[in-house]
């Protein structure tokens, strides 16, 4: 592994029931395991991954949302959600994980622009 580090952003755009939501999580955990500074952005349907009281097991999908509670063990601390995406879906800022920062679209865009590698799932 070379010694460079990059600021990585994972932009989550899929609801929890989409396969790409799990792919985004796997990718996130790998970057974190290799000690790359990583931030998570939730926008559009992606904000649904944060909503409390989902139960994927009722549709026989593995509940990977539980894994998100382990973010602190991976030093994943920058978790941002777009306020407008919540509002337009009539969702309250009531999340199943801690340390989620609700940002205005302007703040959200500013944060995103601080990253050198941005992958969207």
């Amino acid at each position: 592994m070379n010694n460079n580090t990059k600021h990585i952003a994972i932009l989550n755009a899929s609801a929890a029931t989409a396969p790409s939501a799990k792919d985004a999580l796997d990718t996130t955990l790998i970057y974190a395991s290799f000690e790359q500074p990583i931030s998570l952005f939730y926008q559009g349907e992606g904000v649904r991954q944060l909503v409390n009281n989902q139960d994927l097991t009722t549709i026989h999908v593995k509940d990977f949302l539980k894994t998100m509670s382990a973010f602190s063990f991976y030093d994943i601390e920058n978790i941002y959600v777009c306020e407008n995406s919540l509002k337009s879906r009539l969702l309250a800022a009531n999340f199943h994980i801690e340390n989620v920062q609700v940002l205005t679209p302007h703040e959200f865009a500013n944060k995103l622009h601080e990253h050198q590698v941005i992958l969207r799932f």
Partner: protein, 126 residues
Amino acid sequence: MKTLSIVVTTPPYSPLTITAINYIKSAIALGVSINGVFFYQDGVINASEHHTIPNDEYQVLTEWKALNKNHNIPLHVCVSASEKRGLSDEITINAQQTTNINECFTVSGLGELVELSTSSKRVVQF
């Protein structure tokens, strides 16, 4: 030195994949060094040994092979994404271990994506 890594998430039958290949060819022609292509999600299907595409359609595997052979571009497939889609380098048929991943592709893990991300000036997802 301009260095680039590409992430391909689209399947071989999609015109979106042709765009990725054309973009890579442009980059090569402009002297950009391609550190690698990482195939993830449905992109891993590109690595299947068993495509049969009619002769009058775009030959995506031929193009990937040419990029690998003529320009030494490493083509990495995510092993977990592959195995979920029936592609593996550890298939057992009649007690013999075999593979259905084309030899131009390297079976890798997501760790390779991290390596490509940190070693390249830019990462472009297709």
